[in-house]
């Protein structure tokens, strides 16, 4: 009862839920208070967090372990704190418009934050290269839709799409026609048919026939429609699947919230 205040979770939860339905005072007012309480409690929690961070690194310095790095962290922290206090006294607020405190933010936090964020561009490329292999049917779909959406979103992507798709189709045709003999029964037949189908796609794409006065009609078709196809994937199948997952998540979180509220689930507490 006192050691694990599950009852407090229950009361706070029930109150917040009921305030949702009741639009007259004092409920909206109390809800506003509760949100303010959250702010105040978080502020105290920050003290605990800072304590944890600073003590962690002081101990490392004491153990003569990572002295340079942990020292940098501690010096950076305390200089910033002092600077902020000075700015508060001098400019009436650390983030006042003339405050020199913003220098730290502008030239340390912003570039570090943005550069860290931009690392994702590299990681996305290497993760895509490594993980997007057509191992089976579903991973082929993952790869295909990622490729179409990627190429459909940038200028020139449409022009690059057609040769890449042609090459992919021919590659798959070559693969299936090479390996089908190693299988038996149905597997053999299916692989043969799929291989021939891919070969046909590749040939159609490269067929240099004049149609409506244009050479490579199928090739051009891909070029002109890749953008629309990317948009369609985002708006139709992507949206559908995402909605399905999200509905599941909503129900899951509802059941989980109820488990927490009534105290069946108390692993987070003790």
């Amino acid at each position: 009862m006192f050691r694990a205040p599950v009852w407090l979770v229950f009361i706070a939860g029930l109150f917040m839920a009921s305030a949702f339905f009741i639009p007259v005072d004092p409920f909206p007012m109390m809800q506003t208070w509760a949100l303010k309480w959250d702010v105040i409690v978080s502020a105290f929690a920050l003290v605990v967090g800072i304590d944890s961070l600073v003590m962690h690194h002081i101990r490392r310095v004491q153990r003569r372990q990572n002295v340079l790095y942990s020292g940098t962290l501690l010096v950076g922290f305390w200089v910033t704190i002092a600077w902020g206090a000075f700015a508060w006294w001098r400019y009436g607020g650390p983030f006042a418009t003339q405050s020199t405190f913003l220098w730290l933010f502008r030239y340390i936090v912003v570039p570090m934050d943005a550069t860290m964020f931009s690392l994702l561009a590299f990681f996305i490329a290497s993760a895509a290269y490594r993980a997007f292999r057509a191992r089976n049917f579903s991973s082929s779909l993952l790869l295909l839709s990622a490729g179409i959406v990627m190429l459909g979103r940038v200028p020139f992507g449409d022009w690059a799409a057609a040769p890449i798709f042609t090459a992919f189709a021919l590659l798959l045709a070559f693969y299936f026609l090479r390996v089908f003999r190693q299988y038996e029964g149905w597997g053999r037949g299916i692989r043969l048919v799929v291989g021939i189908a891919f070969l046909a796609v590749g040939i159609v794409l490269l067929w240099p026939v004049w149609l409506n006065g244009q050479i490579f009609p199928a090739f051009r078709f891909v070029v002109h429609h890749i953008q629309g196809l990317a948009g369609w994937i985002m708006e139709v199948p992507q949206m559908a699947a995402r909605r399905g997952i999200d509905l599941g998540i909503s129900l899951g979180s509802l059941a989980f919230a109820l488990r927490v509220l009534v105290g069946i689930e108390r692993g987070y507490m003790r």
């Binding site: 003339q98 290269y129 490594r130 997007f132 292999r133 790869l143 940038v154 992507g157 590659l171």
Partner: protein, 293 residues
């Protein structure tokens, strides 16, 4: 087949280097392709272009440093276009000190570049350089969000009494005759426009509370992630256009007749996207051909 096996195990550092080069090289060559102009960007451009000289462009910079690469080029391009047409630019933010820094950086670099161009004689119609308080004003940040917008609809000075330098708005030439946002006129009879550069929900509040009451002309510029949610306002006729992500900025730059960060960035975008797809292809090539049954 050994060669093909290598294709499946390209070291990640090589990929990183390729991505870095593909992004950086277009900047050094300063070449950039023309992008296809979408109507929603063109409408914003035409609107600002046709405003009578001396009109007011109010920009609300509601984004932080993490969205700067996408939105900063829009701010830069719009400011530069406005200065070329002789309009006055007003800047505010709802995103605390983050928006303040982002907005200030954007407008200051536009002013710096424009002043340099004036000195080089590229704008013969202008005799003197841009002056803060005359050609542009930075109102800064005031907490309150929606309340600030509502206040600005009735009186700007109630929301911002001083600019970021601490000077009373009443003493700035650019603020003469600019009492509230209704002084921006209407879409039919415009005397200015409000442009919200958004990375979050502030844009919705601007449209739903600010524009819906004041009925002044408004446009939005936003990161690619939030852009789709703004199309409803375009369909409802509440905003005149949208600049979506880096591509929107590139389109605006192209319309305004210069190649900036966004235009060159679009070439980098294309090259890296194609690079990633080609890498995926090479990986699969090796994977299929080097694989024994």
């Amino acid at each position: 087949m050994r060669f093909l096996y290598i294709l499946t195990t390209i070291d990640r550092r090589i990929i990183y280097a390729l991505v870095f080069l593909a992004t950086a090289l277009p900047f050094l060559f300063k070449k950039s392709p023309d992008v296809q102009i979408t109507p929603e960007v063109e409408r914003v451009y035409r609107f600002i272009d046709r405003l009578p000289a001396g009109s007011r462009i109010v920009i609300s910079a509601d984004y932080g440093p993490s969205s700067m690469p996408e939105i900063q080029p829009m701010l830069y391009a719009i400011c530069k276009h406005a200065f070329t047409k002789g309009h006055k630019v007003y800047l505010l933010t709802h995103w605390t000190y983050q928006g303040l820094i982002a907005g200030q950086d954007g407008i200051m670099s536009a002013v710096r570049d424009f002043n340099r161009e004036i000195k080089e004689g590229k704008h013969p119609e202008r005799t003197d350089t841009l002056i803060e308080g005359v050609d542009y004003v930075s109102w800064g940040f005031r907490p309150g969000g929606m309340a600030v917008m509502l206040l600005m609809n009735s009186d700007i000075r109630m929301a911002f009494s001083r600019d970021v330098r601490g000077i009373l708005l009443d003493s700035l030439p650019a603020m003469q005759g600019f009492r509230n946002l209704r002084d921006l006129g209407t879409v039919e009879n415009p005397k200015g426009i409000l442009i919200g550069l958004e990375a979050g929900f502030t844009g919705d509040v601007w449209v739903v509370y600010g524009q819906a009451q004041g009925r002044w002309p408004m446009a939005l510029g936003s990161t690619a992630v939030v852009t789709p949610s703004y199309y409803t306002y375009l369909e409802a006729g509440q905003i005149i256009g949208i600049l979506g992500g880096l591509k929107g900025a590139a389109e605006y730059e192209q319309l305004a007749g210069f190649k900036g960060q966004a235009s060159i960035g679009m070439l980098s975008q294309s090259i890296v996207h194609i690079l990633v797809v080609v890498l995926i292809f090479l990986g699969n090539l090796g994977f299929f051909l080097a694989r024994r049954k």
